[in-house]
Symmetry: none
Subunit: 243 residues, 4 copies
DNA sequence: GATGAATGAGGATTCATTCAT
DNA sequence: TATGAATGAATCCTCATTCAT
């Protein structure tokens, strides 16, 4: 039910706004508020889209709220009717991207995939994740940025943790003998490898991009294959893991 | 002779400052100028150290020159006696880090290493690079930052290109049969893998850090081993590279 | 006795300096203080010369004390050993110029001149005044400047008043029938005419300058001639002065 | 239609502001934009008036933008909504004053005046020019100032040249036998005489001012009369011009 | 709800002035 | 005395945020 989500977000977006409490839009009436919210939701989407563009183009600090408002075709005042401050825009944008990322991620990590051979599994898992990132370049900006205020980072860290946990669980499901800390590290490393490769992928276009995608998959394949195969012969791993 | 370098840098740091030219104080005399230069150089080092800290904590835009001066324990005016503007601080800091990085990198990529088995070679190459990055966290900030003024980025790009070229040459020396574009991609991918793993490494301390370092080496090993060994059996690579 | 003047000036220059009283340089000893003062006087002259140049080039506000010190070949600290602040430099420079102007002016307005025919008298009077201004362009800067702090202006106003009074006295000596206010106005107008013409003169060089000097004298001549001649036939003057 | 001019100026004032282009708000609609423009124009006028006051009181360099904003009763940010920088304020103020000066000047130098006797012509020409300057003391500041940024000076120089040319043409029309360089010098000298006298006029009030105005006219009359009359008997001119 | 002018604290930078050497 | 590095208040300007319309 996307509308619920939307309303939730609207509330989130306004949380902490102004100094007064929200009038709470008479919960008795049914028609009007809904329409208002709908309109508001459109505005919010419009603003967040603009914010994504401007964040990509100028980074978080470089993006001025006025520039975002202008990009969205509204006045700065309007922007502040939906977001209490600049940070909230980044947070909400981050959350929405993370929500969509969660969905993408959830769809990619379905159980049916684990039955595929690793190479195919990587295709099945990574392709949608790569596609998502290519379509949402702001995700990387909000996710990497060293300059982004703590809250966003923390929000992202939470999602990151969730994703890590899930990846870790998957790993441990299929490799029960893997020690806990090793699973954590492997999951985490897989993530950063993926992100790093992604940057390279996103920096190129067309056929080159395809080549980098294959290269990224090669990296992941070679990293994970020894774990998945019966013969864990990864040499350094062997030397360091079996003291 | 690192001292010469340092003084040269001091000059660099001041170049462009104010609108007048420096009288250049008769370089024939030894005592006085040296002491002055020494003091100046100490200030510059102190300011750059402070800048590194503040850049790490707040990013380039988030770092105010006043904050840098405060961190260095001097007044804002003093900062501007050594750097004409904020950008120059980042540039000088970047150049110094890149110089040291170049040295580290040069020392790490010595020919004698290629005779080692891959695992040992990775130790020999990666350990100093990792150590450098752990000791100079600002390097990553200045090197990654999307918000950093063009000059630094261009400087860094040049270094990056140099490093890539060298890595590529190494790859092609020992794997002459590797196609040119494949070598480029491999070198590039190795770099981003390394950087990505580095972030993970640097995010941890002590024993954990060691574990992540091992994990990073595992990644690199598994990525590069199939290329180096006689039996290039990396499955996805095989399937995509040999049509 | 220029040395007395100099010492007086040196004192003036320091007057108001720092927060303490001057040590008053043991008046018992004779040799040393004199030498010190002499050295100091040289420094002061050097600094004032530099200040004149910089004021001419950049105006009062545009002239930085550091620039003046640099132009004088000394350090900013040295400058402040002789002048308590920037304004004092302008004041002292102004006073010295005014002193010399007073001399020039005094020499130009000698009684013997009044026996000359007006045209010759104008040559005798204006030529040295013009020469002085051409040789001391800073005089105009300090004398005109709308941006110059009140004190200097007030100092200058005092001199201006003195000069006016003298001019007025001259006028009234030889034109006793001239009403007091008319004499004042005439003196004042003569001054501003002179200054205005001077600007024009100083804006040109060589032969052109000579032509403008003649033009200026023409202005003055035509302005003053009707007063001096027996037949005050200047039409507007006639209509306004003889109701 | 002065209102058009004003709106044009408002655009000029905003041109170059910020880094983005103005959307230019469909000029077809009449109501809304007009009101907005009107408000903006009022602000600009208010700011320029404040700027005129502060420039008069402190000169260009001495006038801080915060002081101008305070004088105008607005915040510094508001000032920068209408002018991209301090210089632009001076430029716009200068342009507006020059525009009005041009009008005043154009109205004063009408052909019909040349038929008047010189004395009456001087009244007809000088009175409006004097009135303008008394009402717009900032004109003199912006016009004289040695410290004012190049653009304004250049603008003013252009106007000055135009005015000189016109004056010169007038002179040569009615005194065709006057040599070209003489006409130039006479025009130029007339100007500086006028300005100089103006300063004196503006330094006084009421009846005194009237007296100084008469004195200024006397100066001009006596300077120009010999040229205009059949009998060019100005003695020094005669002696220097007719060798 | 929407607008956009207004706000004002904050940031980069300058420069008159001081003080340890 | 001379030096020149250091100071820090003041300046120009920006931009996140508010509010009257």
């Amino acid at each position: 039910m996307p509308e619920d989500r939307a309303e939730e977000s609207a509330v989130t977006a306004r949380s902490g706004s102004r100094t007064e409490e929200a009038p709470d839009a008479g919960s008795g009436t049914a028609g009007r508020p809904r329409r208002r919210q709908a309109r508001g939701e459109a505005r919010i989407a419009q603003l967040l889209e603009a914010a994504a563009d401007v964040f990509c183009a100028s980074g978080y600090n470089g993006a001025s709220t006025n520039a975002i408002a202008r990009e969205a075709g509204v006045s700065p005042g309007t922007l502040y009717q939906f977001f209490p401050n600049k940070e909230a825009i980044a947070i909400e944008l981050g959350e929405r991207l993370m929500d969509r990322w969660r969905e993408t991620y959830g769809a990619a990590f379905v159980v049916s995939h684990v039955e595929l051979p690793l190479e195919r599994m990587l295709d099945a898992v990574l392709d949608p994740l790569i596609a998502f990132n290519c379509e949402n370049p702001a995700f990387a900006v909000l996710t990497h940025g060293s300059e982004i205020p703590g809250v966003i980072t923390r929000e992202h860290d939470a999602l990151h943790a969730t994703m890590l946990t899930r990846t870790e669980q998957l790993l441990r499901t299929f490799l029960p003998e893997l020690p806990a800390d090793r699973a954590t590290r492997t999951a985490e490393m897989s993530f950063v490898l993926f992100k790093a490769g992604l940057d390279l992928v996103m920096a190129h276009e067309g056929a080159e991009r395809e080549a980098y995608i294959r290269e990224l998959k090669t990296v992941m394949y070679r990293y994970l294959e020894p774990l998945v195969c019966d013969t864990p012969d990864g040499a350094p791993a062997g030397s360091t893991d079996t003291p």
